[in-house]
Subunit: 319 residues, 2 copies
Amino acid sequence: MRLLHRVFLSLLLCFLSAASLFAQTKIAYSFRVVPLGVLGGIDESNLSAYMVAPAGSNNYICMDAGTLHAGIEKAVANKAFTVSAEQVLKRYIKGYFITHAHLDHISGLIINSPDDSTKTIYGLKSTLETVKTHYFTWESWANFADDGNAPLLKKYHYKALEPGNEVAIDNTTMQVQVFPLSHSNLTSTAFLVRSNDSYILYLGDTGADEIEKSHNMQSLWETIAPLVKAKKLKAIMIEVSFPNEQPDKTLFGHLTPRLLMDEMSVLAKLAGSIKGLNVVITHLKPPVASITKIKAQLKANNQLGLNLIYPQQGKVLKF
Amino acid sequence: MRLLHRVFLSLLLCFLSAASLFAQTKIAYSFRVVPLGVLGGIDESNLSAYMVAPAGSNNYICMDAGTLHAGIEKAVANKAFTVSAEQVLKRYIKGYFITHAHLDHISGLIINSPDDSTKTIYGLKSTLETVKTHYFTWESWANFADDGNAPLLKKYHYKALEPGNEVAIDNTTMQVQVFPLSHSNLTSTAFLVRSNDSYILYLGDTGADEIEKSHNMQSLWETIAPLVKAKKLKAIMIEVSFPNEQPDKTLFGHLTPRLLMDEMSVLAKLAGSIKGLNVVITHLKPPVASITKIKAQLKANNQLGLNLIYPQQGKVLKF
């Protein structure tokens, strides 16, 4: 009996540690990101768009929507999804988060709208106003939205977000908080997405505070520093459009490797060490020679020890 | 001597007929067309855009500009051009002819504008007005044009075309004449391009006169019938967006195989036989099943004996 008892206990322990290992494997990441487009220009088949869902869920949101169809096709070909491209568009994407109305961040949404399902477009009021008055207008495109020029086809609902409040994202278990960014003449947006106790931060096009004469980045870093400290922020997705050689006056509200690292130093001062923090570099602008230079400059200037990640179209990232 | 004479004569004849054959081969076509994008929807990497140049020239114009970069890349990969994609965009394309302002006909132009060279955008006044007030506005995009919201970056010059006049196309040896088309709530455009004594006709999105309650197609066919009769019209590039099953009320200003053939019958009545006329079918709307159906229906309804051509992205056509 005693031996049997001991065997039973050993088996129980074995089972429990296996279960815990399994659970650990299962919760080893918080977010699944599928990049649909990663470049900052001219290639219509690969412009800013990133699907984000909590681990284990197919209820995604799409951060910006420069390229949808061509990116989804590539993701399906890469087996990032096991359903058809049509199903990914219609069923997996539950809403769009548009950082600003520049066409390389929204043309995919407009082009795909006839084949899309009913969902919500989130953004700052100013961004949605431009979508309403410049795109879904019956001049540039049919009005698939629920506001603006009649007749309203009502496929999309506009939901304006205000800085300072966390808002639940429809048809997902995620929440979002918005922050204004300075992008030359436009106000761009950062979206802080939460799933349970984990966060991911996606920034649209942005200049550095130093160049833009702004405090938007400073305020953002102050808000997220505690999350970084507590290891709750799983990744920052942020743009670097030009190499360091780009003159300040032709930055057009974008970052270079030097400016990114300056901003990251501000965050590091607020959060303590940010060594190993996942930083996904978005919006690299062709040509290839320029992209190669940006990558080399980021590597050479990475004294903070950031985990620099270069997303590829249709290849899954886990954070 | 007599034998030698005869041999010499034979050789001369042989040479002359070879030379004539060579000359015929050389002038066997009038236009070179490089499709940069051929579909009527959702695939951002393959939307309406067709480069057209006189045979033997690299001074192209681009009819619509839904997809530029991705199409040029494909054409270069297919050896349609021997220069780089950058050179094709900057040096080979001398001007854009925009049929209407729907985004799938112009997003490539806007996305590629930062990397483009100085050139002219041609279109009806109403089309250019929408480009000016909806795209190059500093809200949706920087204003790369020479009119509209300040500051003007002046890379592009707007040139409004009026029906009824033939106009020389800058930096090419071609001329153009415009015709209004009915495309639901918008006025779309047909461009009749002339090189010497040869013509090619490109139509933007259009509905049939029967559905649109219009005479635009009738007027166009009346104008070009003499050119067809005289074998001067080398090709018609025209849209077929939906299969015959599409209900009239959801055609949104587009053609089906039946409606195209009805329109072609009007032309045939005016021009006599149009057997063998090159008709390039543009703007087929995905999904693939629908495109397959359109092709089958066109084939089954081709009593007129048209030479139906389905353009492929990056593959040269000669007319």
